[in-house]
């Protein structure tokens, strides 16, 4: 039975959330507005709503740099990000399971080592990694970006999943062992389903962060037909020549769409984990 107080409370809550949320929206509204302004008015006309409306930025922007268009850039970005996201989800969770649930000699040591891999600023490992990948012959392929994910080098997600798994009560594991389940069985049947929100988070963030990882893309993708969306965006800006601001903002808006779609569609997995008391046998 909904009381008056409930209804008012609910209304206020909604209103508050919306108001705060609108504050978050301003930049994206500005960005969308800028994408419809002619290039020579973007910086002189500061408001959100364009004084002069044009869709040329989208038309021209899509062509990319003439020899390669954004259809290729988007395709490349998608391939890299989807593969990376799935590889991360699988391999980081296997590793996390080992750290969180299994016992083995040297566990504390390797865990500390894993944490340390997070702490070295990446700019200084650029050159040795480049030399290494060059020796493998992987320059100008997607391999230097994707393959590390198959080896769980993104320790962020390992640590994330470790914390989630450690939050699950151990007795479910134990009852499964009693039922004759192998380590791998526990992993696939019990741990993975219960850490779905964390796995979804891993997928989402892996995708988004790989998408934005401009630096590695710049270094390893040398032919324009392998370029990704962020590289394409940077190609619009050149301080010594002409910068195409309008098309750049237009393509930036488009670049956000996959992220939005992904975010929206993964929402339904953010449901409450299955009640742990329900898992028996």
């Amino acid at each position: 039975m909904k009381t008056r107080k409930d209804q008012v409370g609910r209304l206020l809550l909604n209103a508050f959330i919306i108001a705060l949320g609108l504050g978050m929206l301003y930049p994206i509204l500005w960005l969308i507005g800028a994408s419809f302004k002619p290039s020579n008015m973007i910086f002189t006309d500061p408001g959100i709503w364009p004084k002069v409306f044009t869709n040329q930025n989208y038309v021209n922007g899509w062509k990319g740099i003439g020899i390669v268009g954004f259809d290729t850039f988007f395709k490349n970005s998608f391939v890299i990000c989807l593969l990376s996201a799935f590889a991360n989800a699988i391999f980081c969770s296997i590793t996390a399971y080992a750290f969180a649930r299994l016992n083995f000699i040297g566990k504390k040591f390797w865990f500390a080592v894993m944490m340390i891999t997070l702490m070295l600023p990446s700019h200084v490992t650029t050159i040795p990694r480049y030399i290494m990948f060059r020796n493998f012959g992987w320059i100008n392929t997607f391999l230097p970006i994707i393959v590390p994910k198959f080896f769980a080098t993104d320790a962020f997600f390992i640590f994330l999943l470790v914390q989630f798994i450690r939050g699950l009560p151990r007795d479910i594991d134990e009852s499964a062992v009693i039922d004759g389940c192998s380590k791998f069985g526990i992993y696939t049947r019990i741990i993975m389903p219960l850490t779905v929100p964390a796995l979804i988070t891993t997928l989402l963030f892996s995708f988004l962060w790989t998408w934005d990882d401009f630096f590695n893309q710049l270094l390893y993708l040398t032919s324009p037909n392998r370029y990704t969306v962020p590289m394409g965006l940077r190609l619009f800006l050149d301080s010594s020549g002409m910068s195409s601001w309008g098309p750049m903002f237009a393509m930036s808006v488009l670049s956000l769409i996959p992220a939005f779609i992904l975010f929206f569609s993964l929402q339904k997995y953010f449901v409450r984990g299955i009640a742990t008391t329900g898992i028996k046998g």
Partner: protein, 427 residues
């Protein structure tokens, strides 16, 4: 156990898929008599299109040569990538260079042996050839020239009813003009941007030291003629402007890094006069509906303190495996009349007087040519670059800001600049 095997198989399959997809493209490297040349340059939009046209023209004439462009958006990205590639022993064949060619001298191929045969240097302006000659060796072929200039917002000045500036002025006339502008401009808009507080501020300082008769650096005896007192005079010049409201106060000025049109006070309508290199004019003009025009730095006519800088260079990687073919292509880019028509003045105004005489292809280009007509005779040979250019820019910027914000006096600032020069030369 069975599930584990299936799982691992799946992993193995996807890994091999990824590997397969990656290595397929590798097979196009030479094995069938085709020479592949890698050309790394920076640029966007138009430059990429015209460069591609030039590439296709060359490839149609030389079917056994394939040119792979490796484009980066800005010079910053370009050099980070090239540096890493060079460190990995994997540098491209043609490397586009800017004024920092001096720093790369040790990794570039001297082109002297090609001069006169594969590379026709006779038709290029001698000053352009000289600018690419470092330590006695020809290391780079100039793509064109650019000059420093003051740029003013013609539309804004006309709107407030002030007279337009003369292209050439003395410092005294210039100061009077700024005062005149100040009286007409609304509050919040300044006659000139604080051009010392910018990321490429070593150029205005370089200009001023030439005007002052004390060039920044002489390579021949690895020394500077600038003293702490000279540097102090420079800082005091701008302190005077700042005190009189001719340039914005430091916290306003610091909001405009002037890296590009998006961080420019001129484009934002906050200043009537700014500074740039002539090859940036088209980019700036494209970012505003107001009309921009060029004028000289003050005092250039009397002292010939301006200079023509090579806009960019084509250079060859010392470790290039196809040096001859690469040089042939560079010769094409620079000397072939059809290529010249395609490439236009995108990488700088042509270093050839005859090309310039044939006129400009756009109003912006025409303005640049007109400016060069006036400023050309007021120029002399470019000063040698201070070693460790980037660090010089960055630290000079910091010292200048400290003076601007009142943290240190111009005298102390002058001293610090002097010590900075000595340190960088000795490095």
């Amino acid at each position: 156990m069975k599930k584990a095997v299936v799982f691992l198989l799946f992993i193995a399959m996807s890994v091999s898929l990824v590997f397969g997809a990656g290595t397929k493209e590798q097979a196009t490297s030479a094995g069938d008599g085709t020479t592949t040349i890698r050309w790394a340059y920076w640029g966007s939009g138009e430059r990429v299109t015209i460069s591609q046209q030039a590439i296709e023209l060359y490839q149609s004439r030389h079917p056994n040569v394939k040119i792979n462009p490796e484009v980066s958006g800005g010079a910053g990205d370009h050099f980070v990538k090239v540096d890493t590639q060079l460190a990995g022993g994997d540098g491209p064949d043609i490397i586009q260079m800017g004024g920092n060619i001096y720093d790369y001298a040790s990794v570039l191929l001297p082109l002297d042996k090609y001069a006169g045969n594969l590379l026709d240097t006779a038709v290029i302006d001698p000053s352009a050839v000289a600018s690419g000659t470092i330590g006695g060796k020809l290391l780079g072929v100039s793509t064109g020239v650019t000059m420093p200039a003051l740029v003013y917002n013609k539309s804004l000045i006309e709107r407030v009813g002030a007279p337009l500036p003369k292209p050439s002025m003395t410092y005294a006339e210039f100061r009077d003009y700024l005062m005149l502008l100040k009286s007409k401009l609304p509050s919040g808009v300044y006659p000139m941007q604080d051009i010392g507080v910018m990321s490429t501020n070593s150029t205005p300082f370089g200009y001023w030291t030439r005007y002052n008769g004390t060039p920044l650096y002489t390579a021949a005896n690895a020394s500077t003629s600038v003293t702490a007192k000279d540097a102090q005079k420079y800082l005091e010049l701008f302190a005077d402007y700042r005190k009189n409201g001719l340039i914005p106060p430091p916290d306003v000025a610091a909001g405009f890094a002037e890296n590009n049109a998006d961080s420019s006070a001129l484009i934002a309508g906050k200043a009537a006069i700014g500074y740039l290199y002539t090859n940036q004019l088209s980019g700036y003009q494209a970012a505003t509906t107001d009309e921009l025009a060029l004028m000289e730095f003050p005092g250039a006519a009397a002292t010939k303190a301006l200079w023509q800088a090579p806009s960019q260079f084509y250079t060859v990687n010392k470790d290039s495996k196809n040096a001859d073919e690469t040089v042939k292509f560079i010769n094409f880019l620079v000397n072939d009349p059809e290529a010249a028509r395609i490439l236009g003045s995108n990488r700088g105004t042509s270093a050839s007087a005859s090309a310039r005489a044939s006129g400009a292809s756009s109003p912006v280009d025409q303005k640049i040519l007109d400016y060069m007509q006036v400023a050309g005779p007021h120029s002399s040979l470019e000063t040698d670059h201070v070693p460790n250019d980037t660090e010089f820019n960055s630290t000079l910027f910091l010292i200048y800001q400290r003076v601007a914000f009142g943290q240190i006096t111009p005298a102390a600032g002058g001293q610090q600049i002097y010590e900075l020069l000595l340190r960088l030369i000795a490095k």
